[in-house]
């Protein structure tokens, strides 16, 4: 088990910078997700940690060892690919034994290890099967077993769930997380799926255009987004154009249209009068009768079963509100005048 340090890591392809000076410390035993849209540099970063891509600048440390210029086979890492990369010309047992043979383990030890690894991933009796006889989920388990028997210092997972169907993805999500927790192995998980990142991770690094936008716990990322990109990429957010008025009692005062409201304090000083974005999640907005909060008009109602989603006009801007469809709350019809409010601590001011 080791921690991972990325120091000013850069990867450029000609003019194009795929990864722009990333510095990151992934702690020992941590489940760390790199989350971002395709082309954000998350896979390139993972492949640099693995050693398949050589950084243009910067350093990579695994534990106390500098591995920046080491080939992959000298890094003592385990990686599971999106397509699992099970060797099709080898049986399941031979696949799992591959790394052990390279480590010159005795035949007897290899057999014992393979058997116990198969038990660990729930594939007892699969020794003699071949890749083409395995489902996607089974291939993934074999890929994990093949990696884990070599006792790598760190585990790298490159979108391992994206090729599975939805039900299996849910199951594997918890299974992988549980396995990781049991083993306590430092894990870097690359995904574009926010649900996976939020459910599985100890910490998440949100990436965009080769940069780390924000690093934090799932709660930090979801509830205290630091940039507009993070707030719109993770979940839905209402983004309202506002003007900063000043501070009041540790909160930020902003106004839009005829409305003046409080929001969570801004970090750093912002001159009154500057334009900003007020960010509120749809589930944090409370709709009530006229007079209870800011005046708004219902534009549309969208029934979604457990949720009802409203589109509202609020001070000439549009917001989306979600609320639980419970029997004790009344529904609103398009055209109806309502009042909306939210907890200032649940709204964020981001300076544009």
């Amino acid at each position: 088990m080791s921690d991972i340090q990325l120091v000013n890591l850069v990867k450029s392809y000609g003019e194009m910078q795929a990864v722009k000076k990333i510095s990151l410390h992934i702690k020992e035993g941590e489940f760390f997700s790199l989350l971002g849209p395709s082309g954000c540099g998350k896979s390139t970063t993972l492949r640099m940690i693995a050693g398949f891509v050589m950084p243009s600048a910067g350093r990579i440390l695994i534990g106390s060892d500098e591995v920046t210029h080491l080939p992959p086979e000298k890094r003592d890492i385990g990686i599971v690919f999106q397509n699992y990369a099970i060797f099709p010309h080898m049986s399941v047992a031979e696949n799992i034994a591959f790394g052990l043979k390279l480590r010159k383990k005795s035949q007897a030890e290899i057999e014992i290890t393979v058997t116990s690894a198969l038990r660990q991933v729930g594939l007892v009796g699969y020794e003699d099967r071949y890749q083409r006889q395995l489902s996607g989920g089974e291939q993934q388990r074999v890929a994990l077993a093949r990696v884990l028997v070599t006792k790598p210092r760190i585990l790298l997972l490159d979108e391992p769930l994206s090729a599975l169907d939805k039900a299996l993805r849910e199951e594997m999500k918890y299974w992988i997380k549980e396995l990781q927790r049991t083993l306590g192995i430092t894990t870097v998980y690359v995904t574009h799926d926010q649900d996976e990142a939020l459910t599985m991770s100890d910490r998440i690094g949100v990436m965009q255009k080769g940069r780390l936008e924000q690093v934090g716990s799932p709660e930090d990322i979801y509830e205290r987004p630091e940039t507009l990109f993070v707030t719109t990429f993770i979940g839905h957010s209402n983004v309202i154009n506002v003007t900063v008025k000043g501070r009041d009692n540790g909160k930020t005062v902003v106004s839009f249209g005829a409305n003046t409201i409080l929001a969570r304090a801004l970090e750093g000083e912002v001159a009154p009068g500057s334009a900003a974005k007020l960010v509120v999640r749809p589930e944090n907005v409370v709709i009530g009768r006229t007079g209870e909060g800011l005046p708004a008009t219902v534009l549309t109602e969208n029934y979604q079963g457990a949720l009802v989603r409203y589109r509202l006009s609020l001070g000439e801007q549009e917001i989306v509100v979600e609320r639980q469809n419970q029997s004790n709350v009344s529904r609103f019809a398009p055209g109806e005048e309502v009042g909306v409010s939210w907890d200032p601590e649940r709204s964020e001011v981001l300076v544009a």
């Binding site: 398949f52 080939p71 086979e73 890094r75 990369a85 010309h89 890749q131 090729a163």
Partner: protein
């Protein structure tokens, strides 16, 4: 068979090769094979079969009509005279050597082309491979003769430099024939190899590396065995082309390298003994087929008999 391309679909399920999918087809569908089959029967099967039938008539100079008097004298002659039966082994030996040399030369190049993702560079390499096929074989062989002859480029340069006293025997021997055959057959080898190497997903090699295999180890334990279908296809094509080639041994061997096609030509064109030439052709055909079958079986066995 281990060469079957199996892919994992977006839902993680294995997608079966298209060839296994059965589609209900009407009888009209099978009429599509008729034109090619008719052509094949008229212009290959009939002439070849009648030539082979001729092999069972006693030799009669200038006679090409079939007679009812069957005999196996021709075959007895082939297997009792060393000049003929040695030609069988010479043909198979040369064809095998051409396969090995072609594989050794072609594999690294095919690997590079398969691994080159830059479209411009890839196109350039492919043009280099295919450009040699744009000229007729005879013209290419004349070029080779200019290079390898006693007064050719190589020998005259080495003589001028004083590195050798007499010209090296580069032509009119087995060496010249093998060089010629490799030159002719190399594109076929490379194209077969490129196809199978390209179909190996790069993550397989990377997985091997991450599990602790060096670049070379990853190649020999993953890429090489997985490219076996291409190696098999390439060597079979090259073997057949090399074994049956007449023009290359004729020009590059100067009639001194007596392989079976040379004997056939001599019997038919020079002495007019069609029957004996036909018998050699039968032996060439059967021994080539036999060698290919044995090779294929051995390769299957080496692959562990995996379905």
């Amino acid at each position: 068979m281990y060469g079957m391309a199996v892919t994992v679909g977006s839902d993680g399920r294995v997608i079966r090769p298209a060839i296994l999918i059965r589609i209900a087809r009407g009888p009209a569908f099978w009429w599509l094979v008729v034109p090619a089959v008719v052509f094949f029967i008229i212009f290959f099967l009939v002439p070849t079969a009648s030539l082979f039938a001729l092999a069972f008539n006693k030799p009669a100079t200038g006679v090409i009509d079939l007679s009812a008097a069957l005999s196996i004298d021709n075959f007895i002659r082939i297997f009792t005279r060393s000049i003929y039966y040695e030609a069988i082994f010479r043909s198979i030996g040369i064809a095998s050597l051409v396969c090995i040399v072609g594989l050794l030369l072609g594999y690294p190049l095919a690997y590079v082309i398969a691994k080159t993702s830059n479209p411009g560079r890839n196109a350039l390499l492919m043009v280099l491979v295919l450009s040699s096929m744009q000229l007729d074989m005879v013209i290419r062989l004349y070029g080779l003769m200019v290079l390898l002859g006693d007064n050719g480029l190589i020998n005259s340069t080495l003589l001028d430099l004083g590195l050798i006293k007499a010209p090296l025997p580069l032509m009119y021997n087995i060496f010249g024939v093998v060089v010629g055959l490799v030159q002719i057959t190399l594109p076929f080898m490379i194209l077969s190899l490129i196809g199978s190497i390209t179909s190996i997903h790069p993550s397989l090699e990377e997985a091997a590396r991450s599990l602790g295999a060096s670049r070379a180890r990853a190649f020999f334990s993953v890429v090489f065995p997985m490219s076996m279908p291409g190696i098999l296809a390439g060597t079979l094509i090259v073997f057949s082309l090399a074994m049956s080639s007449y023009v290359v041994p004729a020009l590059m061997g100067g009639w001194k390298v007596l392989v079976m096609p040379i004997h056939i030509y001599q019997q038919v064109a020079e002495t007019g003994r069609w029957q004996f030439g036909a018998a050699i052709a039968v032996v060439l055909f059967v021994s080539g087929l036999l060698a290919i079958t044995l090779y294929h079986l051995a390769a299957m066995r080496a692959a562990g008999g995996r379905s």
